[in-house]
Subunit: 560 residues, 2 copies
């Protein structure tokens, strides 16, 4: 007898060829791994003792009566069930890799996600509208991909970093409720889990405020999780101001599944004579914070050293800590290299304010606030995972009340925390100009399990406010006219109040699939060097083509 | 009293402000065209004699009780109801143009079309999968848009002309049924109604033959027409071979709403001593055909001259004709400059074979077959429209049995009538190589009212057949390996039989909307010179950016 595991997109079934049927048996003998077959046969129960409970179809088999080889196959470059194949190889032979059940499931999950999102939006009065891919440089801050124009030599299109301005124009054009699932492009260095092209669910609504947009998009995501995963997300999602998120978690996208929080000690440390703490405490841009790790007293010296190196990657110059052996013993129950610098009453107050218990460990961050937030915030997440503290399930969160601008002291200029079209939460342009640092924006980010999955805002809809925002961002009149003149014009032509949001579809699906990278939920992703090992893109092109486009290559510096 | 027509995306309602309410009245006096307002008021029946039956809301009005100006507006660059505004101006102020009800309806129709298509496909087991935009040059025959790579200087991505190879790879990757509504790019000269970027509904299925793909896609389009327009298309769609379509209509996308047909006279004219007819009749690549226009006897000399010029645009060197006054009078009932060259029995046979009746006119084409087909085929369509002969309604059609290759005598080489991945209707590669001119392909085009809306084929799934097709198309081993090596590899790794189709979404929606151009069903189209008057794309870019991309501009020849 010959047994063949016959696979299609729905699963696997065992086919049996019997030597009694000599011709078919002979054909079946020729069949190799990954051949494409047409089999006619009779489904029958498997004989007693040969059933396979791990297979959906494990109770039956097909007795093969006819067999046709539709296509032969060479030996695959790697066995489908080999877990140790490098990603480069998987991407080079993606058509093999995609046959793995886990990849089939991920792509199908992704399709179910977009289907559910679309249905909700279609049924809620949104109109799916396509915006251009060959367009003008967009102001999202990353590098644009450029496309030389043949008909306008010396001129270039930019691939969109987002459809931001077009969706605003659609609102000004009276479309009321728009959505699009669309490709966006950023020519960034791909250190993090980023891709040159990624997919965004883009939404915009006219005549709305923050509450409208957030309520609708909560319903959207809640409905989608129910449809696709059968999961009920909280109703409503919790909301947290940016200030609170930074204070408690050092992050504007806190993972609420991790039950660790900062205790702020900045004020308390101002007059403590320990320079490591009182210098940042007295720096207007500094911060001192503690992070209590329950049960952290079991950490070894080496583990603490590793975490010290870990926070160093975020700019922290050290990682002070206190081990709490017995709270009841007061300072005598503590163990720490920094204890000798801390007055007893300060140490005791730290114990009390962090709620330390026997066996805990308290980490400290003391530096510029952004260094403390980034390093201690990252440590919090790392500890959560390392110590098994991450709760099961889904923790969505809205972060709101962002500052409108971020002041870059080094460059002496403001940056937009979102983008320059975000409306400030002030009544008019005069108020914004009077005290820009105090202005909050009307932006909101949707965070899920510590990942920002969506971000949006109410937009500026009045030209004088938009000009004020450009001014404060150092975008002069000439630059504004050149880059955004059409938007400024449009704002004078009867622009309704409007706002929206954009979701990173790849990240959302990655989280839902439990995948480790957005590359795992894309059919044909690029490598970290922005190349495609399958098609060998990008590739050299001939001089004729370059000439038509009015460009030539620069001489390359010799490879060193 | 002040009357304000208040418009939103759902329509218009009349708001009345009463001088009794002085403050609101004063505010209402400030309101100008296209201002954005928030109005609170009481809906009431309009007074007797003031109802407007042309308006949906014409029986009521809103008595304004509160009024807030949400945004002011400058005088619009053109009045919304001005029909004579040039397209360049409309595109420059597209956000104004989009406020016109007809544009609102078109974009909403487009969204209803994609929604219906998606729902059908989602519900029929298809998986929506995204394929890359930054990819390798695709072999669709048009010029690629290129994107310089920063991380691989001197190398370029190409924007896809279609996802053809990726969808084939998805089938080889076991995805079974794929679809995508996706942007495609062709850097063509835009004489015809074409756009640099356009949208395709792309479909591929594994383990299918022509009948499967055509049946499913007929159902898809039929369902969509029912959903969106409430129209029942024929079931099944008529089918016609390519040979029959060319013979009867001179076109591979005949508009079956027009009741005019060719009568082929090639054989009959072989030994008629009239060189204009017998030369093409004896040319193996020639053709002689007649086109009877019922009632065409009323055409004036000038009209016939105009049609002669018209066919001249398609290469015809003249336009012979016979007016039929009275059939019963035989040749005496005919009127024509060519009559003296035609023996009576030939003239009578033409009458009989074309089914001429009193008052008809018969046009003739005699030239290379492609000139006759193009010119007389175009004349057929033009006459149909000019003479009001186009039947109401929808005439879908499948055109099948295309030749696999087209022989270019001048260049002495074969061209693919579809693309090089189309399966020939022959049992194996040997047969194909033995007589490539005789081979038909397994391609099918869906035609609607004379426009090709979709085209597809069963694809080659065996490497030896693909190599034979490449060979015959003059794609040598080295070129095939460089351009399509990954496909050839994939075909050796267990590729199932597969096939699919791609629909031009813009054209389909244009037909359904009764619009004159695909630009009318796109939110932000480009002009005929591939530019966007709204954003001023494409635009110059700075040298820093070019340097990063490893390119520089060529010196431009001085403008002449």
């Amino acid at each position: 007898m010959i047994f063949i595991d016959l696979r299609d997109h729905e699963g696997v079934v065992q086919v049996v060829f019997d030597p009694d049927r000599a011709e078919m048996f002979a054909r079946a003998e020729q069949v190799r791994s990954e051949y494409v077959l047409r089999v006619t046969g009779r489904v029958r129960r498997r004989p007693e003792g040969t059933t396979n409970p791990e297979l959906n179809t494990g109770a039956v088999e097909v007795l093969g009566l006819d067999l046709e080889v539709l296509n032969a196959a060479r030996t695959p470059p790697f066995p489908l069930d080999d877990e140790d194949v490098g990603e480069e190889t998987r991407l080079r032979y993606r058509y093999i890799d995609l046959r793995r059940p886990v990849m089939q499931e991920r792509l199908r999950l992704r399709a179910r996600v977009t289907r559910s999102l679309r249905r909700f939006l279609d049924d809620t009065g949104f109109v799916d509208i396509e915006t251009p891919m060959l367009t003008k440089a967009t102001p999202e801050g990353a590098r644009d991909y450029l496309v030389p124009s043949r008909t306008h030599p010396g001129h270039f299109f930019a691939l969109p970093q987002s459809p931001q301005l077009f969706k605003q124009l659609l609102m000004i054009g009276g479309m009321d409720r728009y959505y699009q699932i669309t490709r966006c492009f950023r020519d960034e260095d791909l250190r993090a889990d980023r891709q040159p092209e990624f997919t965004q669910l883009d939404i915009e609504m006219a005549f709305v405020d923050e509450a409208d947009v957030m309520a609708l998009n909560e319903r959207l995501i809640r409905t989608m999780f129910r449809d696709v995963l059968g999961v009920e997300l909280p109703d409503p999602f919790p909301r947290m101001t940016h200030a609170e998120a930074m204070a408690r978690f050092g992050s504007d996208r806190p993972d609420l599944r991790i039950p660790l929080e900062f205790t702020d000690l900045t004020e308390r440390m101002r007059d403590v004579e320990f320079k490591v703490f009182n210098a940042p405490a007295n720096d207007p841009e500094g911060r001192v914070a503690a992070l209590r790790l329950p049960g952290g007293g079991t950490l070894s010296r080496k583990e603490i050293d590793d975490y010290t190196r870990f926070v160093g990657r975020f700019g922290a110059r050290g990682l002070a800590y206190i081990k709490v052996n017995r709270v009841a013993d007061g300072v005598a129950g503590l163990q720490s290299p920094i204890l000798k610098f801390l007055p007893d009453e300060v140490a005791l107050e730290i114990l009390e304010r962090t709620g330390a218990e026997d066996g805990d460990l308290i980490f400290f961050g003391a530096d510029k606030a952004n260094v403390v937030n980034e390093s201690l915030g990252a440590l919090r997440v790392q500890l959560g995972h390392d110590r098994g503290l991450v709760a099961e399930g889904w923790a969505p969160l809205w972060v709101i009340d962002f500052p409108m601008f971020e002041w870059d002291a080094k460059e002496g200029r403001f940056y937009a925390l979102h983008h320059p079209f975000t409306a400030p939460a002030v009544p008019d342009a005069e108020v914004l100009r009077a005290d820009p640092r105090a202005a909050l924006s009307r932006a909101y980010d949707m965070v899920l399990n510590g990942t920002e999955v969506g971000g949006g805002s109410i937009r500026i809809h009045r030209p004088e406010m938009q000009r004020a925002a450009f001014d404060l961002l150092g975008i002069g009149e000439a630059e504004a006219a050149e880059k955004f003149g059409f938007l400024l014009d449009a704002l004078t032509q009867g622009a309704p109040p409007h706002g929206g949001i954009a979701f990173g579809l790849d990240r959302l699906v990655m989280l839902m699939a439990g995948a480790g990278s957005i590359r795992d939920v894309m059919a044909f992703p690029k490598t970290q060097s922005a190349a495609c090992p399958l098609t060998d893109a990008p590739a050299p092109v001939g001089d004729v083509q370059l000439r038509e486009l009015g460009i030539r290559l620069r001489a390359q510096p010799p490879a060193s």
